[in-house]
Every structure is written in structure tokens, then in C-alpha cells.
């Protein structure tokens, strides 16, 4: 009797164990943990040894970039048509804005005529301005954008085959857009200056005061500006003065217009001043950019 009960208990135990074993194979949470672990490994590998994932990135690029540029043609054609309707009203408001700007500028021009210092600064600005039309550039189209919304990184349709290298500067119109951070076979990634991780060494055009331009996307969306930090305390730049890339930057070519200064004030540390910067480029409507195909270091070498 006892033996039978014991046997039954044993077999019940075994059955339960077998059931559990079966369950372990099927449970989604184990799949989740295994895949999460794989992700952590990939994260570590891709962060520490970026070159190991390069072939995979290139493969994905070769497969997806033709589709992206094709699809993007369709998307931009549709949005272009919608934009056309908006342009009429935009032109009217723009006209008014421009009239105001003309008044503002004529006042400024008069001031500049009177003030020797400002005349000098404008001359210097003019010299800087003529510096970068001579640089070799290549046009590129934006075919995809980082879509998490936290970073402002986009893909352009030129890559290592077109002679693009990491750290080349990207401009649009006459303002700085960003810098090339990753180059693949047919495409490359550009990190724009409004990205939170972007720091550009800059200077005020008139006085030459050095500062740092930090991207801030949340701020850009709420009031259209990004941050300027580390301005010297004695700096007293006027509103709307030009901010250019600085000579001491090791990645950005000097004298490229970044934007216009606003709201200069002493910061919380009481050691330096901070301000806001209105970017010269309209990042909402960006679809074509120019890549300057000279690197800062090489440019300096040729000058020597």
C-alpha cells in the first residue's frame, strides 16, 4: 500500500517536472531575456568596437538606400505640392518681415558708417564671408531622418564612393547645418547642430569672443532657439549679431555662419555669460545640403 502511494507521488512529481520543463521552452519571458541579453552584448560590442559592425551597416545601406531615395522622391513630391499652397501666404508675411528687416538694416548701416569699430568688424566679417565660397562643395539630398525624435541625425545620399569623409562640415544656404559622423558606401549620417549632443566651438563675429553652441531640440521646438554657453563675462554683443564657427575648433572650418545671438545674460555660475542662438538655417524645411569636401586639418596643412 505504502509503496504504491509512494510510487504515485513519484510519478506525479515527475509529471510536474516534465510539465515545467516543457513550459521553460515555451515561455515568452525567456525569449525576452535571451534576446535582451543578446541586445546588451551587441550594444557593448558596437560601442567598444564600432568597426566590427561596419560590414553589417554597409549591407543594410546597400539594400535600403535605393528604396529610401525612391520613396523619398514620392514623399517630397507630395509635401512639395502641399507647400506650394502655403507659399502664397508665406510670401505675404515674409514681405512684411523683409520690409521691417530693411528698416532695421538701414539703421544698422548708418550706425556702422559712424562707428569705426563696427566698420572694422564688418570688414572682418566680409573677409570671413569670402573665405568659404571658394571651398570645394558637393550637393547632397536628405533621404532619411532618425525617427525617435530625440536626436537630429539624418542620412544623405552621398557616401564614401563620392569622397565623403567623417568630420566634413555640412552647410545649407549660408549657414552651418552639421557635421558628418558616419560614412557608408552610398550614404552618410549627418549630426546637425541642433542635436542635443552637438557642441560647436564658435565666436561672436564683431568681437571675436569665443563660446560654445550647444544643441537643444526641446528648446528649438518651443521657441526656435538653441543655447550659447561659456561666453566671457565682459562680452556685450548686440541682439541679432552673427555667430560664426571659431578658428580654434578642430572639426569645423572657421568663419561659417551658425546663427544670430539673442537674450545675452550672465549665467547661474556668475562666471560666464549665456545666450540663445537663432540658427541661420531653417531645420524644418531642410531637404538639400552642401557638404564641404575639405577637412579642417587638411585645410590648415595647405595653408602652411
Amino acid at each position: 500500500m505504502k509503496l504504491e502511494i509512494h510510487k504515485r507521488k513519484k510519478s506525479a512529481k515527475r509529471r510536474r517536472r516534465e510539465k515545467e520543463e516543457k513550459r521553460i521552452v515555451l515561455l515568452p519571458k525567456h525569449i525576452l531575456f535571451v534576446l535582451s541579453f543578446i541586445c546588451l552584448v551587441i550594444m557593448f560590442v558596437s560601442y567598444r568596437f564600432p568597426d566590427t559592425v561596419r560590414p553589417v551597416k554597409n549591407l543594410a545601406d546597400i539594400v535600403l538606400s535605393p528604396m529610401q531615395s525612391g520613396i523619398n522622391h514620392v514623399g517630397s513630391a507630395i509635401s512639395g505640392r502641399i507647400k506650394k499652397r502655403e507659399t502664397m501666404e508665406e510670401l505675404k508675411t515674409e514681405n512684411e518681415e523683409l520690409k521691417k528687416l530693411v528698416e532695421d538694416l538701414s539703421v544698422r548701416a548708418r550706425l556702422a558708417g559712424n562707428d569705426q569699430y563696427e566698420l572694422d568688424s564688418l570688414r572682418r566679417l566680409y573677409e570671413l564671408d569670402t573665405e568659404y565660397p571658394d571651398l570645394p562643395k558637393t550637393a547632397a539630398r536628405i533621404i532619411a531622418r532618425e525617427s525617435n525624435g530625440w536626436y537630429d541625425i539624418f542620412t544623405i545620399d552621398k557616401g564614401s564612393d563620392d569622397g565623403i569623409c567623417v568630420n566634413m562640415n555640412v552647410i545649407a544656404g549660408n549657414g552651418l547645418v552639421g557635421i558628418v559622423t558616419d560614412v557608408r558606401k552610398n550614404t552618410s549620417l549627418v549630426k546637425s547642430i541642433i542635436d542635443d549632443n552637438s557642441n560647436v566651438s564658435a565666436m561672436i563675429a564683431s568681437s571675436g569672443d569665443n563660446c560654445i553652441v550647444n544643441g537643444n531640440m526641446a528648446m528649438l521646438r518651443s521657441n526656435g532657439t538653441i543655447e550659447i554657453n561659456m561666453l566671457p563675462k565682459e562680452c556685450n554683443a548686440m541682439e541679432n549679431e552673427e555667430v560664426l564657427t571659431s578658428r580654434i575648433s578642430d572639426k569645423y572650418l572657421s568663419g561659417i555662419l551658425i546663427g544670430y545671438i539673442k537674450n545675452l545674460e550672465i549665467d547661474s555660475s556668475n562666471m560666464t555669460k549665456e545666450a540663445l542662438l537663432v540658427p541661420a538655417v531653417d531645420f524644418q524645411k531642410l531637404d538639400n545640403v552642401l557638404v564641404i569636401t575639405v577637412l579642417k586639418e587638411k585645410e590648415e596643412d595647405t595653408l602652411r
Partner: protein, 169 residues
């Protein structure tokens, strides 16, 4: 087999929609999250396993193309797939409330996780401003786009089930 091929096509479609098409139609500077809609549809109709796999591969694709550390999006998408798959039994194909709530909260979860690991730990602590300018607009935009994409993905799921010989009812 056909099912997995269809998933692959759906993932690539989402990728193209998200990074190339909707990039031209940004509202308040944000792009809707098409992958999330796909993942929610899969987890509600087919359960956790397939949704987790889809989350893994779609996150991998996003990271591969845009990010230096590959795998962050994958982990977040997989956890969303896992949690949403728990509500599998509550799912009723005629009601839109469960998927709508799942998509909205899923997107909030995704953005918050991304914010905490990518920004909060780096000292950018102004959550209010990020919430107002990035997280909420994105969640609402995703919900609006879901009105178009959700029926499409659901239709594909039904067709797949028909093809494999299951009846819907």
C-alpha cells in the same frame, strides 16, 4: 514561412514610412512610430513570441541605420511587445479601445525609456519641456497615424490566418 516573409516586408515598409515618408510630414518636429503600431498588432493578435521577435528585428534595423550603440531600440520594443502581449486575451477585433490605449501608452513608455537612458542619466533633467515638446506630440501623432496603419496590419493578419487555414470566428 509566408508569414515571416510578410513580417519582413512589413518591417521594411514601416522603416521606409517612418524615416523617409513621414520625415517630410513632421508635426511639431516629430515623426510617428510605425514600428510600434506593427508590434502592438502582432502582440494583440498573435501573442508575445512573434511580437518580441518583430520588436527585436525592427529595433535592430533602426539602430543599425542611425545609432552608434546597436540594440537600445530593440530592448525597448521587446519589452513593449512582452507587456502588450499580456493583454492578448482582452483583444476583440471589433473594438478599438484596447489597441488605442496600448499604442498610446506603448509610445509613452518607449519615449520615456529612451529619455531616461539617453538624456536623464546625462544630466538633462528638464522632463517637463521634453514631455511637452517631444513625448506627447509623438504619442498623439502615432495615434493619428494608427488610424490608417492599424486596419492595414490587422487586415494582413486576417489574410495570413485565412491562408494558414484558421477561421477568424
Amino acid at each position: 514561412m509566408i508569414r515571416y516573409l510578410v513580417y519582413l516586408i512589413e518591417i521594411i515598409l514601416c522603416y521606409l514610412l517612418q524615416t523617409s515618408v513621414f520625415a517630410n510630414f513632421r508635426v511639431f518636429g516629430v515623426v510617428p512610430d510605425c514600428f510600434l503600431i506593427l508590434i502592438i498588432v502582432l502582440s494583440l493578435t498573435k501573442g508575445q513570441n512573434q511580437a518580441i521577435a518583430a520588436g527585436f528585428f525592427s529595433g535592430l534595423l533602426l539602430d543599425l541605420m542611425f545609432s552608434e550603440t546597436i540594440g537600445t531600440c530593440s530592448i525597448i520594443y521587446m519589452f513593449i511587445a512582452y507587456i502588450a502581449g499580456r493583454f492578448n486575451r482582452m483583444f476583440d477585433p471589433h473594438s478599438l479601445i484596447v489597441p488605442a490605449i496600448a499604442i498610446f501608452t506603448g509610445e509613452l513608455f518607449y519615449s520615456l525609456a529612451y529619455y531616461i537612458f539617453g538624456f536623464f542619466l546625462l544630466g538633462k533633467t528638464s522632463l517637463g519641456s521634453y514631455m511637452l515638446n517631444m513625448i506627447l506630440p509623438r504619442a498623439f501623432y502615432t495615434l493619428v497615424v494608427a488610424v490608417l496603419l492599424y486596419p492595414l496590419f490587422l487586415f494582413v493578419q486576417k489574410k495570413l490566418m485565412d491562408l494558414e487555414g484558421f477561421s477568424n470566428e
